[in-house]
Amino acid sequence: MTQLKPREIKALSYTRPTLEQGYANQTLSIDLSGAAISIKPVSEIMKEVFVGGKGFDLWLLWNAVTTETKWNDPENAICIASGPMGGTPGYPGSGKSIVTTISPTTGSVMDSNVGGYFGPYLKFSGFDALEVTGQGADDTVIFIDGVGQEIKLLQIPGLPEDSYALSQVLTDFFAEGKKQNISVVSTGPGAKHSLIGCLNFTWYDVKRKRARYKQAGRGGIGTVFAHKRLRAIVARWDSVTMDTNNPADKEALTTVSKAYSKEIRDLDPKQNEMARVGTTHLVPIMNDFDLLPTHNFRYGQHPGANNIGRDVYQHLFDPGFDGCWRGCTVACSHGVKDFVPMTGPYKGQTVFVDGPEYETIAGCGSNIGVFDPFTILEMNFYCDAYGLDTISVGTGIAFVMECFELGLITASHTGGMDLSFGNRLKALELVHQMAAGEGFGAVVGQGIRRMKEVFEKEYGADAALLQDIGMESKGLEFSEYMTKESLAQQGGYGIALKGPQHDEAWLIFLDMVHNYMPTFEQKAEALHWFPMFRTWFGLCGLCKLPWNDIVPEDNKETPEPAKVMKHIHWYADYFNAVTGRKVTPDDLVQMSEAVYNFQRIFNLRMGYGRREHDTLPYRAMGPVTVEEYESRRERYDKQLTEKYGVDIADKEAPEKVAILRGFREQQYEELKDAVYERRGWNKDGIPTADTVKRLGIDFPEVLEVLKANGAS
């Protein structure tokens, strides 16, 4: 690497404020079009209503865009924030950032949460949130130097194209001898050439002496980043202690942090062993319960699943501490060292792979019929390096593979590639093509919603079948869980604000395996409470995993074990200790409810956010094809006869498929009714005026949106 010679475009010196009870009380705004840097105050009403994190992001984004804004308009903002508790070093899972923007695949608000050091370093540098608008005249690096108290916009010629090398180079360049003081946000060429680009957020691994990264993957945020001609955002900060957030009650903070940290340390080895195997334990479990998506969500089980789960990756992961934030005892960000790719620009070289996690294994493995752990590692490595979302890549390739096998597309469309399920080399070739914006990969990189249009209009494929098997909703590709037998999870995906991502509601086990919510009302209650509480983590700069992936030993004896109330009480104590605001567990849900409803109304403002947008492809609800029905015939026949009272004696499979579909589509609509009512929304899925008033978000601009949509 030659010596980097940055050219300064703009610089702003500032006086770093002392943090007050978890807040810097100001945000940083950068307009790349005018190379303008400004600092804005955070109002008390922002803290009271939006709390921080995603709440701050949404408020900044709302004020940046108009109803007409598209993802590639200069006024579209990328907003990044931590939260009041973000950066606490002793409390597990306290290093998250939330990123929001108007998405290129959904056209509406996208949010994605991510580990790494950036969010805390941004805040400690003096900013609760960052908003970046405009488009640079040239490639730009933003440097937020909390130590030197200076913001710089830089042009740095000669930087590597891919995010893997770029992260290391920028860490080295800005570190001034302390690499753990640096966090880099970047993407790669895949983000430039597709609509499913991700962002990589680094954390420095002192033991392995390298920058590692986590991904804000969903909805093409990396694509917006690349379109703005942002090469990277770098934050620099120094030491972090329990005092850095200047908490309201340090003694209480220390007490609750120690208790939680100890519980995780004691119980994780007895439970899911996330500090050792990450989320790979989910692969065999999902497979056993018929929930692991295989072959584009047709089936939930495959004999090859044992090759790509915990039992294999526990031996491939490099042992050691893998916390993406300092002091996190969950420490689940595992990786594989000394991996040698067999394809692409790193072919034959030794690289470090950050991952894989469950979603990548299922998306780039079982769902495309690949049961080879090393191909999954290579897909994982290149998606990250290229800045591509492994979930959208996996689900997108699964879709084209099914289309290929069904004859909806042929080799004449794919550039001669045989895209049958399991063709791992062609799957990798597609990833390289997506990154280059070439060949059929350039089509796949547009995401499933646009592929459906191309396949129908240009290739003459059956539109109805494409709709049934194209696993996207709202324009976002499904994450990797089978929902056919869990109505609650169908709602968890279909009614989710940004599209089918599981971070909002993961009810599949509680519903299908534990049968905790047999009635519509119980499912609706779960689809109220769980999304609201999960939203709260994103307001505060926290990771959800410590809450319920490790549970107290006496949890099963509590009235509502699914909520893990002991931990929720600790979270309330944690919030009180940092912010000084006195809250109860119930208050946490109400805080989230305000932001959640605001985001729903934001969708409405952008032309979405109605009942018609909460739709699912039928593959998410039940068997599309006779082949799928026959593969689980006993289950489906039993439901038709016992649950719906249908006499199936003289019925052939196609008729049974159709009858079952009618029932299942109807029950999904009934679920929507129940959920909307529970959430205080009208029949069209719009929050009522009473609801926004109760939640304290009855700002004039919010009421105006409701009025414009006939819902005031």
Partner: protein
């Protein structure tokens, strides 16, 4: 004897995960156990034998995601 969450439980010939859980209160809460380091899920409880001297850990609900 086998160990179940650190407690000693008598082992018997023909013991499976299913028969073990049948004798445990609130067994319906456990959809997965770890048997000598390997995960076993409920669909396989009845057919998975437990050898003598085994270590069984009952995993609480899987929260996932």
């Amino acid at each position: 004897m086998i160990s179940v969450d650190g407690r000693q439980v008598p082992w018997h010939e023909g013991m499976t995960v299913g028969t073990l859980l049948a004798d445990i209160q609130d067994a319906h809460l456990y959809a997965v156990v770890r048997l000598n380091g390997k995960l076993v899920s409920r669909p396989n409880f009845q057919t998975t034998p437990i050898p003598d001297n085994a270590e069984v850990i009952l995993l609480p609900m899987i929260a996932g995601g």
